[in-house]
Symmetry: C2
Subunit: 347 residues, 2 copies
């Protein structure tokens, strides 16, 4: 394989992290954005929690009310009004309304070497109503001209959307609201303006016609987005028959912008692929992996909260090596490395 | 009823209009945007056409290939690979891919009095690949500072999106591409900047969580949109149990911005409602119709290509009267009028 899994994998697991409340337990620490900050590395880890549940006859669904107070719906597993067979979601048969069985927040983690990470004991950013009532998920961090832009998935009864928060110091946060309305997630920003505009990939999830493909967009200010066009379609090959979506924010290389993306097959097995675009034409793909560059095979990838998932939200270039951080089985943070040249040669 | 149907209804029907090709027939002339232009009124009518079909065993699906050439898929009605029972859509059982049984373009119509309309013999704007391969639908026209902005639904295998074209004279068109990515339609622009920004309502169609509600957004330039937030949710009452969506572009009144929107119930019966927002807070609803302000009851509304539909894309204020143009049964253009004060008193 192109990538070498780090022997310390998984780097972060739920057991290492404190829940945000004493009545919660952590079911996942995964899908982490990563960046350099001064002389250390920072990660924003998705921490998924659920209420400790001693009642085998009920499923508990934590969410925020309109005032931001945590409420827990306690739904009987045998209630014919609800479908409770999916471990992640409870659906009302009549209204179609959905609740989640967990709620996620963002947790900051620090590292000097990229291998050993210290996860802060308290949340860095928690969900707020109305657009995050079911949680905030899958942060990506992009440093642009001294500001750190953190985009994330805002989940609520209003849909799955992408929101933005920015910070200069990871202490003071400025919330910028919804930047891609539902259904849209897996947004990745370019770390510099291109042709005078900010640029991003995004992944609409059409409710009717259309597939889950990667689109390109531009912005004058990081909050208003336009110029939408399709960049990368799911190839239809086995490993990306279902969907594709952005992974790590694009990495500048001498040969162009390198993007690591995810793809899922018909059974929801998530692999990673890569594509390359010219420096000045980030909407035009000039190279693309024909087979996965990373696929679930280690035990911590094949078994967990959701089996057979590798999913990235961030990568770093260290000298000539790509450090690819990824969520494993929707439960842990792991690391794989590969020579940058070897990846580019393949595309 | 609040509204009076015009005795000349329907104002425009397929029989009055020439197909764009000799091998096509028109199945609908409906959902028309309207504006004042110099000393006349203009309408952009959605003209839905399909290939003339003498073969009862096949359904024909017109669409554009990547080069813009019209191709017609001829699908056997008994082919088990396809679902052909919906008169509007053919779906591939295996891939989920969809084709439409008609393709729409925009046709310009002229009127001196708002009642008698002359429809031009040729298309005003036709679909272009890749985002309009299945057609262009439901134009709204908004005059802002001397430019006419025409937003419309761009339908293709990439999804149902909203695109923009602008013109100063209805002769020279500038295409501005996709402004709201899939799935999103029923966009209505405000006819002036508010707080220094352009403003619009839009209607995302979430593919997963979330309902079909009306959102608000702002833009610095009419092509990049942000500041997304929910404005109007389907009430859940019978007539708007299914969805709500923008109708006519907002109309300035002394009491605030008046918006006529559409709502559909669980059986896809489409009615019209109204809501009011403050001049300086177009994202905040201060009045809303509890019952439909117009619902399908005339024969030309209850029977047609799609039964039981009234759907507006444009309205004009003439002295103290609202002229509401609407698509009837997805087949014809009709007109209903009401005293503006009576509508506002109800909200």
């Amino acid at each position: 394989m192109l990538f070498t899994r780090h022997p310390s994998n998984p780097l972060i697991t739920p057991a290492q992290v404190q829940p945000s409340r004493s009545d919660f337990e952590i079911i996942g620490t995964f899908n982490a954005g990563v960046t350099r900050y001064h002389d250390e590395l920072l990660m924003l880890v998705r921490v998924a929690e659920r209420p400790v549940n001693d009642d085998p006859y009920r499923v508990l669904c934590p969410h925020l009310d309109d005032g931001g107070k945590l409420v827990i719906a306690r739904i009987r597993r045998d209630d014919p009004a609800y479908i409770t067979s999916d471990p992640r979601i409870v659906r009302n048969n009549t209204t179609g309304d959905v609740l989640l069985t967990s709620i996620s927040h963002m947790r900051l983690a620090h590292s000097a070497d990229g291998i050993h990470w210290t996860v802060e004991p308290r949340p860095w950013m928690q969900a707020e109503p109305p657009y995050e009532s079911f949680g905030v998920e899958d942060a990506r961090i992009t440093a642009i001209e001294g500001t750190y832009y953190v985009n994330y998935t805002a989940v609520s009864q209003h849909g799955i959307a992408t929101a933005l928060v920015r910070t200069a110091d990871f202490v003071h946060l400025e919330r910028c609201g919804i930047i891609f309305p539902p259904s849209n997630r897996d947004v990745t920003f370019f770390p510099q303006k291109i042709g005078g505009e900010y640029a991003a990939y995004h992944r609409p999830m059409p409710g009717d016609l259309g597939k889950y493909n990667i689109w390109f967009a531009t912005s004058p200010d990081m909050t208003h987005w336009g110029g939408h066009r399709v960049v990368l379609e799911a190839s239809g090959d086995g490993w990306e028959a279902g969907r594709v979506g952005g992974g790590a924010p694009p990495v500048w290389t001498e040969r162009g912008w390198l993007s690591i993306y995810h793809a899922a097959d018909a059974t929801n097995r998530y692999c990673l692929g890569a594509f390359l675009t010219p420096h000045d034409q980030p909407g035009r793909v000039i190279g693309r992996s024909k087979t996965p560059i990373l696929e679930p095979s280690a035990a911590y990838e094949t078994e967990g909260f959701f089996n057979n998932v590798v999913f990235t939200c961030g990568a770093l270039v260290v000298d000539t090596t790509l450090y690819l951080y990824y969520g494993a089985a929707d439960e842990r943070v792991a690391l794989a490395t590969a020579p940058l040249d070897a990846i580019l040669d393949m595309l």
